[in-house]
Amino acid sequence: MRPAPAGRLRWVIGCLAVFWLPLVHSAEAPDAVGVSQERVFEYLYIDANEDRSSGGHTAVRIDNDVFHFLFKNDYLTMARATWAEFQLSYRGYQNRSIYSTRLEISDATHDLLRASFLQRFLAQSRQLKILQDTRHDVALLQAIEQAAPSKMELPGLGFFAAPTRGVTNGRYREIQEAIATAHGKDHLQNLRRELQHQLSSMPVEALAASRRDFTKATLPGAHYPFNQRYADLVAGMRAIDVIAAGAALSEKSLALSLAADSQAPLSTDQRRALQSAGAGLRQRLVALSASPRPDWGVAFLLGLARLEAIRLSLESDRWVFIDALADDASIVEVGDRMRRFIPRLRSDAEALWAEARSSWMQQDGWHEGRYAAMEIAHANWLELSRIESGGAQWRIHATRYVPRGLGPPGQLPKPDRIAEDAPLLLATMQQSQQEAAALASEQMGYKLLTRNCVSELFTTIDLALARSLIARGEPVNRETLQQETRRRLGYMFTPNPIPYVSSDQVRDHWRVAEARELLSLRRLYARSAYEADSELATLLRESNTLTSSVYQRNDKDSFFIFFTDGNAMLRPPLGLVNLTAALGASLVGAVQFPFDGGKALKSGLRGALFSLPELGFQNIRKGSSTWLAPELLNAAVAETGAP
């Protein structure tokens, strides 16, 4: 039912609810499926901030997952994050409030929508993979044809030093014997012969992506592209050669651990746990050596590298891991401003490293997830220690990651098919690359008005409704979609491309169970600090960037003095101060131009521009954080009621 506008305002204000935010660590069972078991579907509007989207952003939250669309690498790509991760990023680091509209929907509608968003996410992940594969096919073929192995790095080949065939030192005798016992004494030898044969006779063809592969509604067709098939075969052969030769871990794998200052020796319990984990991992490697999965070799090499790291830990009596940041890490340049935060970040990382160890100790045997958590926590701690000692480039992985162990192949065996017809193959692969790129641009390219973060959310919802109609044998047309929308959600409408307008539309047209405002963590902290002591001094302290106890100026923000994302009545006078200060900063920046390349001038001018809306009672700029002060996280935890 569509409520009247005045009633909507009263109802919205009345429905503001306390927000429960399980940040980072849940107070509930750590292995629970998702943090919350509650079934929710929420339309989220994320407040604007300078340069990050002056019209804001939108997302949907389904249970503990958030799906949203981001402009990334020339395409509008779908992202999936947990509710906690999403809030940490937007409410925390980006200092943006979230306006959530929980819809009143049936369980069946909830499941339908969840399946649709999940399917779209999976489909797009594979579509991006197709694009990547067409590029890699060309690169690999060129490298093989030019006999230029140094131009390639293949997964798994970088974990170990290059093995010398025919040379053996018995380093992996135990696992060799275990494999022989389980699968026969000639298993590895026969397997290597088979892999060699497969590589010589492998089909070499372009990945022929079709328009259908890039539709929103369906998963792309099954593809096992040339570059992946080749890399998997090479990795399989390398795994067998490493075992046979007893190759040691590479310098690249051990660089981070070797550079570390002395650590405390392992405790008796830790040694026992490592031995148990090693035994369990050895069993998994035996199974992997006979696995039918075509990329068993890559997984085997990673597992063997981890097993060797466990052995080195026991031998040296200190923690040794492969460097989990060696490949694909984002590099953050640590400037003077960020360097102030590094000691506290390093301290946080050390605490998380201790927690990861403690969590791992709770489970006996081999558990990949918990070992990997230790591996990355250890790497983060050592990396930040290195930065604290003067390093300037901080390596980070933005998401959960499997170490790929990229390394040069030494030589690139040439499949027979390439020997026969390389120029034609290259031409077809290059054409395939161009066609895939064109299809991707056509289907995934960002368009301000018609394909954006708002439109794609509603398209995904419409896809769900259409599937529901099809499942019932009904036609899909405007009228039936309208009826289906009314049945499941509310009145149908044309979504406005501007995020905050679309959020208003959802509240106006669809059945809403609850609407609430989730303050940015900075505002949440400021409010709770003032509520605690009711001191004007607290209010004033948290009102500006100069004295705020939780905000640190950083290079990404424009120059400003007062936060204006709170009380609207104060925006014009505070905005005037911001504008004046920013113009002053611009003048200073103009003088500094020859020395800083215009950085201060640009900051001042942007600051002046984003101050203008404040004169008209509007706010876009929020400031942002490169590091979250513990006070911010504590305020959020206090809001949830968790200990």
Partner: protein
């Protein structure tokens, strides 16, 4: 949104101010950009998140759900090749920080549930399971258990 109706009689005021700034800076009014700006924040927030035990449980749960969805759509599209299917699983698993996806029994039951969601016959499901399991009867049992869960 909880804003004063006096100061914000319509969305037009806000829209006009936004347009003024957008026009001056040429920034997007629409959606978040990720390449240069937001990625830094994702980068800074995530490394500590990925090492928590609760996030490991979430990653496994997400992987199993995605495995189910992937299997259902893969089979429903008429695909049968085991190599491509397993590579698809590996891709999904690696995004969740998992390399040895065969190790977890939940992977196989999730595949089985995906087969059930694809609405194929029990005979077809058994064929697919036998092909995928390559003779491992325990794995076949897990696959068919997942399939049975959907009936």
């Amino acid at each position: 949104m909880p804003q004063s109706p006096i100061l914000f009689p319509t969305s037009a005021t806000r829209l006009l101010c936004t347009i003024a700034v957008v026009g001056a800076l040429g920034v997007s009014m629409g959606c978040s950009i990720s390449a240069s700006v937001e990625s830094s924040f994702d980068v800074l927030s995530s490394p500590f998140e990925s090492s928590s035990a609760s996030s490991d449980g979430e990653a496994v749960a997400a992987f199993q759900e995605e495995t189910e969805g992937f299997t259902a759509t893969y089979i429903a599209a008429g695909n049968t090749e085991a190599d491509s299917f397993q590579k698809g699983l590996s891709d999904i698993a690696s995004q969740r920080g998992i390399s040895d996806w065969e190790a977890n029994p939940g992977t196989w039951t999730s595949i089985g549930r995906g087969l059930g969601q694809a609405d194929i016959s029990e005979a077809a499901a058994t064929d697919f399971a036998q092909n995928l399991a390559a003779g491992d009867e325990q794995i076949v049992a897990l696959l068919m258990q997942g399939y049975a869960d959907t009936l």
